[in-house]
């Protein structure tokens, strides 16, 4: 995977629930650390847009959807384990 790929993220959160807030912080920190200037983040609040969550099949919050690069992946949770996120994004070998 090219290092210069753009990572497009959608983060579904449940309002200001503690683990959602934590996920927003963790994602920001992660992107800064591992993907500087290579990312776009859209935060979707399921309380405001429940239909969207329903259509996308987002039932657990927070859920991170990785839109690009393909394939689309989903990571559920507060993203507190950076290693797991790296692995899921296929970036593990670059940071090892």
């Amino acid at each position: 995977m090219n290092r210069r790929d753009l990572f497009k993220f959608q983060l579904y959160v449940a309002g200001d629930a503690p683990n959602s807030a934590q996920a927003i912080d963790n994602l920001a920190a992660f992107c800064q650390a591992h993907l500087p200037d290579q990312y776009e983040i859209e935060i979707v609040d399921v309380f405001r847009e429940p239909k969207r969550a329903l259509a996308e099949g987002i039932f657990m919050t927070p859920t991170l959807v990785v839109l690009t690069p393909p394939p689309v992946r989903r990571i559920v949770g507060t993203l507190s384990h950076a290693q797991t996120v790296l692995l899921a994004l296929g970036l593990k070998d670059l940071t090892a």
Partner: protein, 588 residues
């Protein structure tokens, strides 16, 4: 209030539902819970694999959508909604028609490629459900296999938190909810050991489904473990997954209380048996025919079926021994013709081999068949099969419920029961012990006498009717089934050849007696004639004597007249007066 709403398919209005109960439409289950699940509250459904959790939950939604105007949402954590829908087709529930307006499926299966990093919650799902439920005005919701998603949560505290979140959400929205969860293995109580076992304490109603195997036969039962704010039937109730969904058998006989008692008699199909019973069986009664194998139990029940068909009553004949065609052929050999009744559809013969299925399964199948066929008469040959395929207790309760059910529906039930010749069962120890419940009990027996084996029939009991106390001989011939008079000699009933001999002897004796009588009459006639002749001659003689006597009297009188006339003339000639004449005359 709950008592008034225990009808199975009673439609319910929205306003009523909030304060009272949400009927499930499951036969029997609404009786157990006295009207359905607690409305606006949460019910936990616990059971092992394949215990019928999903079907029960889905049936609850289907009934709500179809009959109660209560739209429902099904949240599927385990199976996909397409599979659930296609599985439900076999129950004849037209789910496609209801979707998505009154029944909505939410596929919430965790994806297999799902990556998890850290803690999460179900807020997203609840937000989505909230939007959906508001849009369709949902009143019922099912969370199927909640344990699947809970398993993803890292620790018991988090699981507990999410369950409370779900529970609070349900209560806040006044939805009638079902949460299904697996119990480890077949032991439903083991859920308490699981991290979310506290759910049982949290919810307002808990139902445990159990699926066990006894002697190689599957048994399903359910039990309401708790139900806050309502009475309920606390016992385990057997249930079955039938053609139209779940059917729960209620152990107590509520139907029976309403049963109409009929004084109408129906023929047993054997004329002389009707006479013995004082006119036949009662309509709606249950008749038990017991006997060893080959004592013509089937024949007797076949005769009843034929008589029922002749009266134009729809009849169901359930045979556990033979196939339909075998039954027809075998009964035809004794003059019971069932084939054309089968052809015109008034008689339905079903063969249910005794190999598989529990008594419960059979009971429900028989009930369904009888309902579909509209049967007024029902024959089960033999019920003792249940004894084999179930444990004693189950078979007993199945037989009880069969009798209650047929009574409640006014169906005349004839069941045969095989007695095991090898065992030491006496008449009173009939298998299933249903003899106490049956209204009429006919016992067939072999009587071994003088090197012959003959069939004997006796009526052990018949409630509410006078009945013969005699053992009669049952004779099967091409012409049908007949009962003969019993000949008693030396305290024993004579049958077969002995009876024939006795009959012949009596015939000879009667002829002899007749001849003697004739002879005597002839002799008496002769004597009578002779006497008459004598009587006549005596009468003639009598007349002659009387004439002679009359003559004598006349002669005497004329003689005396002559004398007195002579004396008068003499006096006149003497010129004496009458007075002195008298004096002179007295003193000569």
């Amino acid at each position: 209030m709950p008592e008034s709403r225990n009808g199975l398919n009673a439609p319910c209005s929205l306003s009523e539902q909030r304060s009272t109960k949400a009927p499930t439409g499951i036969a029997g289950f609404d009786e157990i819970t006295r009207g359905g699940l607690p409305g606006g509250r949460t019910t936990l459904l616990v059971g092992g694999p394949g215990s019928g959790k999903t079907i029960l939950a889905l049936q609850f939604l289907v009934h709500g959508a179809q009959s109660c105007n209560e739209p429902g949402i099904f949240v599927a954590f385990e199976e996909t909604s397409t599979r659930i829908v296609s599985n439900a087709e076999s129950f004849g529930w037209n789910l496609a028609m209801m979707q998505p307006k009154s029944l909505f499926f939410l596929d919430a299966q965790p994806k297999s490629d799902l990556v998890q990093s850290g803690d999460f919650d179900l807020g997203g799902m609840l937000a989505a459900l909230e939007a959906q439920s508001q849009e369709m005005g949902a009143r019922r919701i099912v969370f199927d296999a909640l344990d699947v998603v809970l398993a993803l949560l890292p620790d018991p505290a988090t699981k507990r938190r999410e369950i409370y979140r779900l529970h609070d959400w349900l209560l806040a929205h006044e939805l009638t909810g079902i949460i299904t969860a697996k119990a480890g293995g077949d032991d439903a109580s083991s859920i308490i050991q699981q991290p979310f076992g506290f759910m049982q304490f949290m919810v307002d109603c808990a139902v445990i489904l159990n699926h066990s195997v006894a002697l190689g036969v599957s048994h399903r039962n359910l039990r309401v473990q708790k139900y806050r704010g309502s009475g309920f039937d606390e016992n385990e109730s057997p249930f079955l997954i039938g053609n139209a969904g779940l059917e729960v058998d209620i152990a107590h006989a509520r139907l029976r209380l309403d049963a109409k008692v009929s004084n109408e008699r129906v023929s047993s199909g054997v004329e002389r048996l009707d006479t013995m019973l004082g006119g036949g069986y009662y309509r709606g009664a249950s008749i038990l025919i017991t006997g060893f194998s080959g004592t013509a139990k089937t024949t007797l029940s076949g005769a009843f079926a034929e008589a029922a068909c002749q009266r134009g009553e729809r009849t169901l004949f359930v045979s556990f021994d033979s196939d339909c065609n075998e039954v027809i052929r075998n009964l035809a050999s004794v003059g019971i013709r069932l084939d054309h009744y089968v052809e015109d559809g008034s008689l339905l013969i079903t063969s249910a081999r005794s190999i598989a299925g529990s008594g419960e399964t059979y009971l429900v199948r028989i009930k369904t068949l009888a309902k579909e066929h509209g049967a007024r008469c029902l024959v089960i040959d033999p019920v003792s099969t249940w004894y084999k395929s179930s444990n004693d207790l189950t078979a007993q309760s199945v037989a009880d419920r069969l009798i209650d059910w047929s009574k409640g529906n006014g169906i005349t039930l004839v069941c045969t029961s095989l007695l095991d010749e090898m065992s030491n069962r006496t008449e009173s120890g009939s298998p299933l012990q249903i003899s106490t419940l049956a209204d009429t009990w006919i016992h067939l027996n072999y009587l071994m006498q003088a090197g012959e084996r003959n069939r004997g029939l006796s009526i052990v009991k018949s409630r509410g009717t006078a009945h013969s106390n005699q053992v009669r001989e049952l004779i099967l011939s091409d012409a049908g089934v007949t009962l003969t008079d019993a000949y008693t000699a030396g305290g024993e009933v004579l049958m077969g050849t002995l009876r024939w001999e006795k009959e012949r002897a009596e015939r000879v004796a009667a002829e002899a007696a007749e001849a003697t009588a004739k002879l005597k009459r002839v002799r008496l006639d002769a004597e009578e004639a002779e006497l008459e002749v004598r009587l006549k001659s005596l009468q003639t003689e009598l007349i002659a004597k009387q004439v002679e006597k009359a003559l004598l009297v006349r002669v005497t009188q004329s003689h005396e007249g002559e004398l007195s006339r002579g004396r008068t003339q003499m006096k006149e000639m003497r010129g004496a007066d009458a007075a002195t004449a008298h004096g002179e005359e007295s003193t000569p």
